[in-house]
C-alpha cells in the first residue's frame, strides 16, 4: 500500500491471550497492518486462526477471559486502547462500526428493529427521536428493506436471515463510519443471499468511501471486494499483499494451498485438492513455523525457528523458503 495515503486504522504488534484454568494462551501473536482511507483489507484464514479475536479486539469487545496483552490500535493516529470508556463508546458504532457473523443472534430478539436502529443514532447524535426515526427509514430503504416505515415496528424474528443482515448493515452504517469491520458477514447466509449482501456492502463502501476490514474464510469473496489481503495462520500473519499480487503469485505454501483448493472451471478433477492436516490448536505450537506440520515443502529449519515477516515490494511473507 502506498505510504502517502491517509491511514485511518493502524494496528501494531497486536497480541491477544485467553485465560482459562490451565493458564494463559496467546492466540494472536503480534499482528500489524495499516488500513488506508477508502481501501478494503481482507483478513483470511481458517477457523480458529484468530480472525474474529482480532476483529473484536480492535474495539475492545473481547469476551470475558480475553485480554489484549500488548500492541496498539490507532484510529487516525489516536490510540484506541488509551481511550477512556466514554471516548471508546463514542468511537464504537459511529467512527468504527462492526457487522457480525450471525444475524440471527446479533439483534435483540425482544425489541423492535426500529428501536434498535434509532437508539444507535441517538447514542451518538443530538437529534430528536423523530429525526432518528426518519434516518432509520432512509437507511432501511438504502439497504433494500421494503416498506421500511411499517417494518420499523417489527421484531427480528419477523425478518429473514438476509434481511436481518441488511438491518445489521444499516445499523453499522447509520452514522457514516470511517471504518467498517465486517466479521464473516455472509457466512451464516445461503449462497444467493451471500452474493446480494456482499454486493450491498461493496456498493455502500464505494459510495461512502469508507475503509473496511473484511474478515472471511472465503477466497472468492476476497477477490471480489478486497484491495489488500492478509493471510492469518495460527495467530500469525503469514502473508500480506495487494489482492492481484496475492492471487497471481502467492509466496507462502499455505496461501498456495488455499488458492489451489479453490474450485476452478478450467481444471477437471475428481476431488477438490485440500491442505492435509488441521490448523494448530492455540497454544500448542511453541517453536518453528506454525504451518510446518502441514507444509509439503517444510525443512528441518522450519520446525525449529519461526521465520520473520519479510517485505519485498509491498508483499510481505513469513516463510524460510522465500529468499
Amino acid at each position: 500500500m502506498n505510504a502517502c495515503q491517509d491511514i485511518v486504522l493502524s494496528v501494531e504488534d497486536l497480541r491477544v491471550s485467553f485465560c482459562n484454568e490451565e493458564g494463559k494462551t496467546e492466540v494472536l501473536h503480534g499482528l500489524s497492518y495499516q488500513l488506508p482511507k477508502g481501501k478494503v483489507l481482507a483478513v483470511v484464514g481458517e477457523s480458529g486462526c484468530g480472525k474474529t479475536v482480532h476483529a473484536l479486539s480492535l474495539l475492545k469487545l473481547l469476551p470475558p477471559g480475553g485480554e489484549i496483552t500488548s500492541g496498539n490500535v490507532s484510529y487516525k493516529g489516536e490510540n484506541i486502547f488509551a481511550l477512556s470508556a466514554e471516548e471508546l463508546r463514542k468511537l464504537r458504532g459511529s467512527r468504527i462500526s462492526m457487522i457480525f457473523q450471525d444475524p440471527m443472534t446479533s439483534l435483540n430478539p425482544i425489541r423492535t428493529i426500529g428501536s434498535q436502529l434509532t437508539e444507535t443514532i441517538l447514542a451518538h447524535k443530538a437529534c430528536s427521536k423523530l429525526q432518528a426515526t426518519a434516518r432509520a427509514v432512509r437507511l432501511l430503504k438504502k439497504v433494500g428493506i421494503e416498506n421500511a416505515r411499517k417494518r420499523l415496528n417489527e421484531y427480528p424474528f419477523q425478518f429473514s436471515g438476509g434481511q436481518r443482515q441488511r438491518i445489521m448493515i444499516a445499523m453499522a452504517l447509520c452514522l457514516n463510519p470511517d471504518v467498517l469491520i465486517a466479521d464473516e458477514p455472509t457466512t451464516a447466509l445461503d449462497v444467493t443471499i451471500q452474493a446480494q449482501i456482499l454486493k450491498l456492502i461493496k456498493d455502500l463502501q464505494r459510495q461512502s468511501g469508507m475503509s473496511a476490514v473484511f474478515i472471511t474464510h472465503n477466497l472468492a469473496i476476497v477477490a471480489d471486494v478486497a484491495d489488500e489481503v492478509l493471510v492469518l495462520y495460527g495467530g500469525y500473519c503469514v502473508e500480506q499483499a495487494p489482492v492481484q499480487t496475492l492471487f497471481a503469485r502467492p509466496l507462502h505454501p499455505y496461501t498456495q494451498g488455499l488458492l489451489h483448493s479453490l474450485v476452478s472451471l478450467k481444471r477437471k478433477e475428481e476431488h477438490l485438492p485440500a491442505i492435509e492436516g488441521y490448523p494448530p490448536v492455540p497454544g500448542s505450537c511453541l517453536s518453528g513455523c506454525p504451518f510446518a506440520p502441514r507444509c509439503p515443502q517444510a525443512t528441518p529449519k522450519c520446525r525449529e525457528a519461526l521465520p520473520a515477516l519479510q517485505e519485498k515490494h509491498g508483499h510481505k511473507v513469513r516463510c524460510w523458503l522465500v529468499k
Binding site: 473484536l56 474495539l59 469487545l61 469476551p63 470508556a85 463508546r89 463514542k90 468511537l91 464504537r92 458504532g93 459511529s94 462500526s97 462492526m98 457480525f100 450471525d102 443472534t105 446479533s106 439483534l107 435483540n108 430478539p109 425482544i110 425489541r111 423492535t112 437508539e119 444507535t120 447514542a123 451518538h124 421484531y155 424474528f157 445489521m168 445499523m171
Partner: protein, 342 residues
C-alpha cells in the same frame, strides 16, 4: 389473545369442579360421626349425634352429598363455617383482602430487591458485590421462616417496639368500624388512602412490614439466583456484543438489552411465588397473629370444618388459575415472540 383468556376462564369451572370433588371425596373417608361431631360443642349432647347426621344427610351417597354442596355453592352459598363462626363466603371476604395485601407487598419487595441484587450480582460477577449477594441468598435459603419470624418479632417488637403483631391497632379498629370510614375495596391500605386517613394507612403498613419481610426472604433468595443466572446468560449473548459495538452506554446495554430479556424467567417465578403466598402464608400469619385467609384455612382443617375446607380450597383453585393466566398475559407483554395463538 382475548379468545385465549376467555377460553382459560371458561376452563376455570372445570378445574374448580375437579378440585372440590377430589377434596369432598377425601373428607368422606371420615366417618359420619366424626363429621357430625363439629356441631356438638358439649360432651353431654353426644346423644344428638345421630340427629345431626340425619339432619345433614351425612350418611348419603358421596355424589348426593357433593351435589347438595355444589347446588348451594352455585347459588353463592358456601355453607356456614363452624370454625370461623360465620358463613364461609363472609369469612373469605373478610380474611382474603388482608392476605392479598400481604402477598402483594411481599411480592413487590421480592421482585424489586431480587431483580436488583441479581442484576448487580451478575454485572459484578466474582467481585465483592456478587459475593455479598450470594451470601445473602444462601442465608435466605437456610433460614427457616418461623425462626426468622420469631427473631424479627423479638427484636423489632420486643426490643424496639416498632412493628407490632396483628392486623392493626385497636385505635385503627375503632376508626375503620366507625360509620365515617367507607370500605371501598376491602383492602385496608387502599381504603385508608381513599378515605384520606394517613394514620390508618401507616398503622396497617406498620403491621404488614414484619410478616412481609419474613415471607420475602426465601423467595428473595430464589429470585436473586434466578435473576443472576438469567442475566449472566443474556450478557454473554451476541446481541449484547452488538449493543456494545454500537456504542451504547453500559447502562443501556445492561438494562435495556440484557435486562429486558433476563426478566422473562423472573415473571414465571414471581407469579408462582405470588400464588403460593395467597394460599400458604399460614405460618407467618400465625406467628404475627395476622388476620389472613391462611389461618382461616388451617383452623378449618384442624376442626374438620368441611364447609370451611371446601370454601378455602375452591378459592385457592380459582386464584391459582387466575394467577397462571396473569403470568401468561404478562409474558406476551414482555416477549413479542410469544404470541398466544388460537
Amino acid at each position: 389473545m382475548l379468545r385465549y383468556v376467555l377460553r382459560r376462564i371458561l376452563l376455570l369451572p372445570l378445574v374448580a369442579l375437579g378440585v372440590t370433588f377430589l377434596l369432598f371425596f377425601l373428607t368422606q373417608r371420615l366417618s359420619p360421626e366424626m363429621r357430625a361431631s363439629l356441631y356438638i360443642k358439649d360432651p353431654r349432647q353426644m346423644g344428638a349425634l345421630e340427629e345431626v347426621i340425619q339432619k345433614y344427610g351425612l350418611r348419603d351417597n358421596v355424589f348426593k352429598q357433593y351435589g347438595r354442596w355444589l347446588g348451594s355453592a352455585l347459588q353463592g352459598d358456601l355453607g356456614y363455617s363452624q370454625s370461623a363462626n360465620m358463613p364461609v363466603s363472609q369469612a373469605i371476604k373478610e380474611y382474603l383482602p388482608a392476605t392479598i395485601q400481604l402477598a402483594v407487598v411481599t411480592i413487590v419487595l421480592v421482585v424489586f430487591f431480587g431483580v436488583w441484587f441479581g442484576t448487580v450480582s451478575a454485572v459484578k460477577k466474582d467481585k465483592w458485590q456478587d459475593v455479598c449477594a450470594r451470601m445473602i441468598s444462601v442465608g435466605g435459603f437456610s433460614l427457616p421462616i418461623f425462626v426468622l419470624g420469631l427473631l424479627l418479632l423479638m427484636f423489632f417488637y420486643g426490643q424496639l417496639g416498632w412493628f407490632p403483631p396483628g392486623g392493626y391497632s385497636i385505635s385503627t379498629d375503632v376508626v375503620i368500624h366507625s360509620p365515617a370510614f367507607h370500605s371501598y375495596t376491602g383492602f385496608l391500605l387502599i381504603d385508608a388512602l381513599l378515605n384520606g386517613n394517613l394514620a390508618v394507612f401507616w398503622d396497617v403498613l406498620r403491621h404488614l412490614i414484619l410478616p412481609a419481610v419474613t415471607l420475602c426472604i426465601g423467595s428473595f433468595a430464589l429470585m436473586v439466583r434466578v435473576m443472576r443466572s438469567s442475566m449472566l446468560e443474556e450478557l454473554g449473548k451476541d446481541y449484547v456484543r452488538t449493543a456494545r459495538a454500537k456504542g451504547l452506554p453500559e447502562g443501556a446495554v445492561v438494562y435495556r438489552h440484557a435486562g429486558k430479556n433476563a426478566i422473562i424467567p423472573v415473571i414465571t417465578l414471581a407469579s408462582i411465588q405470588f400464588i403460593r403466598l395467597l394460599g400458604g402464608t399460614v405460618i407467618v400469619e400465625t406467628i404475627f397473629d395476622y388476620p389472613g385467609i391462611g389461618r382461616f384455612g388451617v383452623t378449618a382443617a384442624q376442626q374438620l370444618d368441611i364447609a370451611g375446607i371446601m370454601g378455602f380450597s375452591l378459592m385457592v383453585a380459582v386464584l391459582f388459575v387466575l394467577g397462571n393466566l396473569l403470568s401468561d398475559v404478562l409474558y406476551t407483554a414482555v416477549d413479542p415472540r410469544i404470541k398466544i395463538s388460537e
